[in-house]
């Protein structure tokens, strides 16, 4: 069995030709066209509007963490993932695992926009007889790859997928988004150890570091910092990025693809409720929908952003 290499230097020394590093900052910017970035930005606004409408419609759900993860999900579904909406079970597809299951509005929105099911169906979210459950259910929703809701299981599930891909010499990759609240869960770290034991370089984990969990700031509930150092200590290749900057997201994914012998953790600094001014960084919107008045304000802000792209 392939093991993670001794030390981390080898992986850190590589430099992808498509990347420019800003001197002294350690940040990466990938050379991608303005047009591509504009397209992703527009799509992300569309997904955020869906999130707001879906959660408003049923007056429940988790908009805040859906919006913080929105740009990462957009980059994955509209630029990176090799998936086929006509064949959701295509065996060679890339796997996307949403460990922070409460953020499923963003997943459903992306899947609908990607063509896995009709966009109209989004309004059935959390309603009786819907395929769009309050937390993801495997086998019901086309394109959904895991069940989540109880936190901290998704990375382990991703490890299993990654091991299977490696066993079968398949090129498909596994991308998992974890919440930062999930860093409280012991199983997350069990999975982190297992992934580095098996040197799973086909696995990329995003940590949606929005700093807020259900009852407050992560650093008040259960301090996580220094978080990057924790993942490094678990022998992962670790990148810290702005999780709302598409160039950085794509560069991180690019670097993860090029990193051999160990998994990559991308700590994505994000804003809970990102995209709607009055929702940003508000603990309340972890698990509360907008009121009728707030809905209008939120959609107006998002429309303005769309026009400005």
């Amino acid at each position: 069995m392939r093991r993670a290499p001794e030390g981390r230097d080898k992986a850190l020394n590589y430099r992808a030709p498509s990347l420019r590093r800003k001197p002294g900052r350690g940040r990466v910017v990938v050379d991608v066209s303005e047009e591509l970035i504009r397209g992703l930005k527009k799509k992300a606004v569309t997904l955020r509007k869906h999130i707001i409408r879906m959660t408003h419609n049923v007056q429940s759900g988790h908009p805040g963490g859906s919006m913080s993860a929105c740009d990462i999900v957009t980059a994955l579904y509209f630029q990176v993932l090799r998936v086929d909406p006509k064949k959701p079970q295509w065996p060679d597809r890339d796997r996307f695992v949403l460990s922070k299951g409460h953020a499923c509005p963003v997943w459903y929105a992306a899947l609908a926009e990607r063509g896995f099911f009709p966009v109209d169906e989004l309004m059935t979210f959390r309603k009786i007889n819907s395929r769009l459950q309050g937390h993801p259910e495997l086998g019901t929703t086309p394109g959904v790859e895991n069940a989540a809701g109880a936190e901290g299981q998704g990375l382990s599930f991703s490890v299993g997928l990654s091991l299977a891909a490696r066993m079968d010499h398949k090129a498909w990759r596994v991308y998992c988004i974890l919440g930062d609240g999930e860093q409280d869960v012991g199983q997350t770290w069990e999975a982190a150890m297992a992934a580095s034991k098996y040197g799973l370089d086909n696995l990329t984990a995003f940590i949606d570091r929005n700093g807020i969990q259900q009852e407050g700031r992560t650093e008040d509930i259960m301090p996580l910092e220094p978080l990057a150092e924790k993942w490094e200590a678990f022998n992962w290749h670790v990148l810290t990025i702005d999780g709302h900057d598409f160039r950085q997201i794509l560069a991180a994914i690019d670097e993860a693809h090029r990193t051999k012998g160990r998994p990559t953790a991308v700590i994505a600094r994000t804003v809970k409720g990102k995209g709607v001014s009055f929702m940003e960084n508000k603990i309340k919107y972890h698990g509360a929908a907008t009121s009728d008045d707030e809905l209008k304000l939120a959609l107006a802000e998002l429309d303005a952003q769309e026009a400005a792209v």
Binding site: M1, P91, R95, E137, L138, G139, E145, N146, A147, A148, G149, A150, G152, Q153, S156, F157, S158, V159, G160, L161, S162, L163, A164, A165, M167, D168, G186, Q187, E190, A191, M193, A194, Y198
Partner: protein
């Protein structure tokens, strides 16, 4: 079938061997372990197929979820460890990642019940059947002996979906033979009788047969049923037993709270009410001791089954 003398054999050995044979036939079979692979005999699978056994350390929740991920990618994933860790410690992971997802994860756990012995109550889970049978979509097996444990391995791989199978650390009497039919969902009548029915699972099946012998000496003909599938329950066989024998005693190395007795009582009460007796652990924790000593102290004996049968027959009254 009469009682003994039986060969005492290790279910773990049968399990380990069956797994290797299955692995040879089916390359999709993989195994995950949690620092108990030597004890539970999956280490030999790893020797035969080094890249198909994943040693995941003392991290059972992760082990179960990894198995689920492997299954989601098309593997048949066997997760094997001690019952207390493989069912109790991992309950919600099994619920969400294995059963709700309806994936091909087969959880095989040894060290069930009191007969773990000297390790004591922390290791003697008498509640795992209750936990697992309560989860929708779960199949729950309790093989009576070594040969049946081997059959459970093959049957588990052949069926689609999640499964939990529990067996013993201690050597148990071999009451079935490799030639016997086995099917998930079917209880087997090992001995016919019309006066009362004794339904047992696991190592208590042998004790039911022993009890039937003793009852026979007093002219009582007891039917003995091996309930190797706890879920889905063989309702037809249970109904028939109730109708034809008019009384039922259940025997399990498990708490009487939500064990096989409870499962059977639900069927009996709904379909054909008859008096029942319940031999099992009486809602208490175990303790250190040798397997046989523990079985005796906690009332899991042929004598107790005989007493329960007599009591059932007394309560049934002369009207039958």
């Amino acid at each position: 079938m009469t009682s003994g003398p039986w060969k005492m054999e290790s279910q773990r050995s049968y399990f380990g061997k069956a797994l290797i044979e299955l692995g040879r036939r089916n390359p999709d079979v993989v195994v995950v372990g949690a620092d108990t692979t030597e004890s539970i005999k999956t280490i030999d699978f790893g020797k035969a197929f080094p890249d198909r056994l994943f040693q995941l350390g003392i991290a059972e929740p992760n082990m179960i979820s990894v198995a689920a991920g492997l299954a989601a990618a098309g593997k048949i994933a066997f997760a094997a460890t001690y019952s207390v860790f493989g069912s109790g410690h991992t309950y919600n992971v099994i619920r969400q990642n294995v059963a709700y997802t309806n994936l091909n994860v087969k959880i095989f756990c040894s060290h069930a019940g009191l007969t773990v012995g000297p390790d004591g109550a922390t290791h003697q889970i008498n509640e795992d059947i209750a936990l697992m049978r309560g989860i929708p979509r779960m199949t729950v097996l309790v093989p009576a002996d070594g040969p049946e444990t081997a059959k459970c391995v093959d049957a588990a791989a052949a069926m689609k979906g999640p499964l939990y199978c529990r067996f013993s650390r201690t050597n148990v009497p071999t009451v079935t033979s490799t030639e016997d039919d086995f099917a998930i969902g079917r209880a087997r009548v090992l001995r016919d009788g019309s006066d009362v029915t004794l339904i047992g699972c696991g190592l208590m099946v042998a004790r039911c047969l022993e009890a039937a012998d003793r009852l026979d000496r007093d002219g009582v003909e007891a039917r003995v049923v091996n309930l190797s599938t706890v879920k889905p329950l063989d309702v037809a066989t249970i109904d028939r037993a109730a109708r034809e024998t008019g009384g039922i005693v259940t025997a399990e190395e498990h708490t009487i709270v939500h064990g096989i007795g409870s499962a059977i009582a639900t069927v009996i009460a709904a379909n054909h009410p008859v008096p029942m007796g319940f031999v099992g652990v009486q809602d208490v924790f175990g303790e250190s001791g040798e397997a046989e000593e523990l079985l005796r102290k906690y009332g899991l004996t042929a004598e107790k089954i005989v007493d329960a049968a007599r009591d059932v027959m007394k309560r049934r009254g002369p009207t039958r």
